[in-house]
């Protein structure tokens, strides 16, 4: 029986390992495919821990299987052994003591590696002139504010962080409602955003690409769809994006877009959303100034296209039940114009 179960065990390990390799393609939200300095330290630590603990596991299982094969079988009626062979007992006792010593040493080694990694992680916070970004977790989206000495140069956006590669990033993490947790596994471990406990997180991106992160502390209905995107790009690309983001929203061009803007400004949208350059200045929901240029809407849960926008505007509760955006009723023409306008906000 144990043979069967241990074989099954081996088989399931093997199968799981296969699955592991197959799933490695999705590396843009993965702790074991680091693209930043911090995550590389952590990933290194992970593989060390995995190697050592896997070895321990194999040793224990081998002993168990060996015991299964070598010990004699007995029946319930057999006399129990109350005065076992003292020399065997003594040998076993020495082996157990040695095993305990090895355990203590292994733990100590792991502890040291762990502390060293912790110190290595801390060095980034000494970096000069990091890019400072304030991240505010809200139920259920992320407000991103790029700090700038001149207030009018500050950039406010949502659920999408653009960063230059190679430069240390300093995130100021804040929450005003419940506890959220900021986690972009390719760059660093997570950090909790606890109301009234502002905190910081340093990381650095080393390879350009689009990476995902999401809230890791349960925060209510739409915890699952509180995602964000990190776009790591070369310095010049970043600067271009930053300069564009500082601009107010582009004026509508076509008639449909103009009609769409009028609808936007007349209806409930303005109570919550801001579009810079228009009277819409609500602070409740995400800033929509450049929403048309974003690949995703609804905190990274819907690709940004016409159909999804229309769906999202009319019935957000079907996509993210419990979210604070109300359902809206528009005639088809109105909706069409509204979507035209929003898509023009590049």
């Amino acid at each position: 029986m144990t043979r069967v179960s241990s074989q099954l065990k081996a088989a399931s390990l093997l199968a799981s390992a296969c699955v592991f390799f197959f799933s490695c393609g999705h590396g843009n939200q993965s702790a074991v495919e680091p693209t930043g300095l911090q995550a590389e330290h952590l990933s290194f630590l992970w593989w060390i821990f995995l190697a050592i603990t896997a070895a321990v596991y194999v040793v224990v299982m081998v002993i168990l299987v060996a015991a299964f094969f070598r010990t004699q079988r007995a029946a319930a009626g057999d006399e129990a052994d109350l005065s076992p062979d003292p020399s065997r007992e003594k040998r076993a006792s020495s082996v157990v003591k040695a095993a305990v010593a090895v355990t203590v040493l292994t733990m100590f080694a792991l502890m040291l590696v762990s502390f060293r990694t912790g110190r290595a992680l801390d060095t980034l916070s000494q970096a000069q002139t990091p890019l400072e970004i304030k991240v505010t977790g809200q139920q259920w989206w992320w407000q991103i504010e790029y700090k700038d000495p001149t207030p009018s140069n500050m950039v406010t956006t949502a659920n999408e962080i653009h960063i230059p590669i190679g430069r240390p990033i300093k995130l100021e993490l804040v929450s005003h409602d419940v506890i959220h947790s900021f986690w972009a596994p390719n760059f660093h471990g997570k950090k909790d955003l606890i109301p009234n406990y502002p905190t910081t997180l340093f990381f650095r991106a080393d390879e350009p690409g689009v990476y995902w992160g999401q809230c890791a502390e349960f925060c209510g209905f739409e915890h699952a769809k509180m995602r964000f995107m990190v776009v790591a790009e070369p310095q010049e690309d970043f600067e271009r994006w930053y300069a564009a983001s500082q601009q107010p929203a582009p004026e509508p061009v076509t008639d449909s877009q103009k009609f769409g803007r009028d609808i936007f400004l007349k209806s409930v949208c303005t109570q919550c959303h801001t579009i810079q350059g228009t009277p819409a200045n609500g602070r409740v929901g995400p800033n929509l100034t450049h929403v048309g240029g974003k690949p995703y809407i609804a905190s990274g849960s819907l690709p940004n296209d016409r159909e999804n926008l229309a769906k999202w505007i009319t019935d957000p509760q079907a996509i993210k039940p419990g979210i604070r955006m109300p359902m809206n009723t528009y005639s088809p023409e109105e909706l069409n114009a509204l979507v035209d306008y929003i898509q023009s906000l590049k």
Partner: protein
């Protein structure tokens, strides 16, 4: 009579006539009242313990159904089967059920059932409190479940972090249901623990000195001590939370703006929450020790080490709670200390594993279902322990915390460390419940399927966590690539359901039509196996005198028994704490309906406290009368010594009695 040993106190005075007369008296003295009143008022620890285990398994089933629903929801990306509202209620109820309503009570229930039997006595020290504890647990559990059925289940997670569970964001009465459930079940746990500790301290059979106590009993005592220092934290936390939320009270314990602290909630919760894991695990290690000893047909290797490691685990277990808070903004130095202590706790657990392996290595295996479950325990639990080492590392934990990796880890630890041994224990002790054996073939099928299903469900979760899946998400997007592994896990859940169904069918079938078991079908060593199955209400016709650590293996055909207890009162012999020398005859109260009445009042008081603070004074007034009735019905006033038979040497002075030197 100085320095006399046992032999001087023994005489051949038990005649058949006397035995028969005493047996008849015992039967009527220890029997319950008839009818529904008798059912409600029983103080028989076996009935209460079984009820607790049975109720806990009912909650286990409900909790399992909830887990199945969650796996259904997560099997496909973007699934619409359960919305976030329902999903949040379900995962909160699943977690709370498995921790508060299954794992802890089932271990207490096994303790309530077997501890008195294993130490050779007839009752717990406070039998009426015992049944009170059961009812408060039952009411707490029903409260939670009817909440869920009525769509008002708590939805803030089983550790209910403020402010999400607080008055501003925890809308309605949902979290109140959770906090009152916690208070009620923790009252029950505290009662059971006090009871078990005192029972083991004072009611052990003569001769069962400290170094002869069976390991399962040790584990229950150590757990009980942990409960006493851990559970008050969560009880206070949940009471403070309900006070923060309550109409006309609105305190500010967790309101930072008024001097409270939301992180204090996490400290209070995890100061309970981490020991809780050991509260569940340590009794399971007791079961492992019992089963391994019996089925490897030899004395336990490293008895003293096993006891000391349990004690060490209990101690260190109180010093590791902050590793649940590694990603909160706390000072790093303090957190590093908790990394060290969290890794330290591996050492006693390692010692346990090595001792068990040595026992198995040196013994001759009687390979029956209970032992097979223990092998499964090794396969699963060791991996859970090792992933625990990873989570203890502060830097590594920042990646793994609150992901599916953690979900995998604690299911390996709790199912591997507690449910596998528990199933083994059920197969092992089933004959004591009903006098019949569980079917072996079905048992083996159950074990193998459960093991396969378990690995299918939880192994992929390690990987899911590493590739970014946080816990407590009700759905995920197709582009995350988590779909395949989630589907695999959901298929595994179906296998686990099949395995559990086999177990339930086996249990029901064997209860009525299984193979009739002898008193000691496994050739085990502890005292409960000297009793007929099922066990009569008085348990021991004569309480035994224990002569060795493995009581049944080391006793002889003429080992002495205790006489002279009053057969018309519920009496047992009470012994000294260290050497188990008899010091007095301890009379306990018989059945009474008052514990039920008091528990109803308590339940009503706690439920009322969700709505109005006035339930507290009103409840206390009602409790005053409830306890008055209880106190007044403590009717045993005088217990004159039971007349000894002629020729029976009189037992003079407790100090004269010395147990036979224990073989260490």
């Amino acid at each position: 009579m100085k320095n006399t040993d046992l032999s001087k106190k023994q005489s051949n005075t038990l005649t058949e006539a006397r035995i028969n007369e005493e047996l008849r008296a015992l039967e009527s003295t220890w029997s319950d009242k008839p009818g529904i009143i008798g059912w409600l008022s029983t103080t028989d620890h076996k009935r209460v313990g079984f009820r607790m285990v049975f109720t806990a398994f009912c909650f286990f089933t409900f909790g399992g159904i909830l887990a199945g629903l969650m796996r259904l929801q997560l099997s496909l990306p973007g699934n619409n089967f359960l919305g976030p509202d329902m999903y949040n209620q379900i995962f909160t109820t699943h977690g709370s059920t498995m921790m508060f309503l299954f794992a802890v009570p089932v271990m207490e229930g096994m303790g309530i059932y077997f501890v008195p039997l294993m130490i050779g006595t007839r009752t717990l020290a406070f039998p009426r409190l015992n049944i009170l504890g059961y009812y408060t647990y039952l009411f707490g559990g029903l409260l939670l479940f009817f909440g869920l059925l009525l769509n008002i289940g708590p939805d803030a997670g089983w550790f209910a972090y403020v402010p999400l569970s607080g008055p501003e964001y925890g809308i309605g009465k949902r979290v109140d249901l959770w906090s009152q459930m916690v208070s009620l079940t923790e009252i029950s746990a505290l009662i059971a623990s006090t009871n078990i500790i005192v029972t083991v301290m004072k009611l052990r059979a003569p001769g069962m000195s400290l170094n002869r106590i069976p390991l399962f009993v040790w584990s229950e005592v150590i757990t009980a001590v942990m409960v006493i220092f851990a559970m008050p934290a969560v009880m206070i936390a949940s009471s403070l939370l309900s006070m923060d939320r309550l109409t006309n009270v609105s305190t500010h314990f967790f309101n930072q703006a008024e001097g409270g602290d939301p992180i204090m909630w996490q400290h209070l919760f995890w100061f309970f929450g981490h020991p809780e894991v050991y509260i569940i695990f340590i009794p399971a290690t007791g079961m492992v020790s019992m089963i391994i000893t019996t089925f490897s047909r030899r004395k336990t290797f490293g008895y003293t080490a096993l006891v000391l490691t349990m004690v060490a685990t209990a101690f260190i277990g109180f010093g590791v709670w902050v590793h649940h808070m590694f990603v909160t903004p706390l000072p790093q130095l303090g957190q590093s200390i908790f990394t060290a202590s969290s890794m330290l706790i591996v050492v006693p657990n390692g010692v346990q594993i090595f001792c068990w392996l040595a026992t198995l290595w040196l013994g001759r295996w009687n390979l029956k279902t209970p032992l097979i479950f223990i092998l499964g325990f090794f396969g699963v639990f060791v991996m859970g322990g090792l992933t625990g080492v990873m989570l203890a590392s502060l830097p590594l934990d920042t990646q793994l915390h609150d992901t599916y990796f953690v979900v995998a880890h604690f299911h390996y630890v709790l199912i591997g460390g507690a449910v596998f041994p528990l199933f083994g224990a059920v197969y092992y002790w089933f004959p004591k419940f009903c006098g019949r054996l569980l079917n072996e073939a079905a048992g083996i099928a159950h074990c193998i399927l459960f093991f396969i299903g378990f690995e299918l469900v939880f192994f992929p979760m390690h990987i899911l966590g590493l590739i970014g899946m946080p816990r407590r998400v009700y759905t995920y997007l197709p582009e995350t690539g988590w779909g395949d592994l989630n589907m695999l896990a959901s298929i595994g859940a179906a296998v686990m359901v099949v395995a559990t169904l086999i177990f339930f069918i086996n249990a029901v079938y064997s209860w009525f039509w299984g193979k009739v078991a002898a008193a000691n079908p496994w050739g085990a060593d502890t005292l409960e196996w000297s009793l007929p199955s099922p066990i009569p209400q008085y348990a021991f016709q004569y309480q035994p005198v224990v002569q060795g650590r493995h009581a049944l293996w080391e006793q002889t055909a003429d080992s002495p028994v205790v006489t002279g207890l009053h057969i018309n009162n519920r009496e047992v012999v009470s012994t000294s704490i260290h050497d188990a020398v008899p010091d007095h005859r301890y009379g306990v109260q018989g059945p009474s309906i008052m514990p039920f009445v008091v528990s109803v009042i308590t339940g009503a008081m706690f439920i009322g406290f969700m709505f109005t603070p006035w339930s507290l004074p009103l409840g206390m007034i009602a409790l005053f009368f409830g306890f008055l009735g209880w106190f007044w019905s403590n009717s045993v006033e005088h217990r004159p010594p039971y007349a000894p038979l002629e020729d029976n040497p009189v037992y003079d002075d407790p100090a004269d009695y010395k147990p036979v030197e224990a073989a260490v």
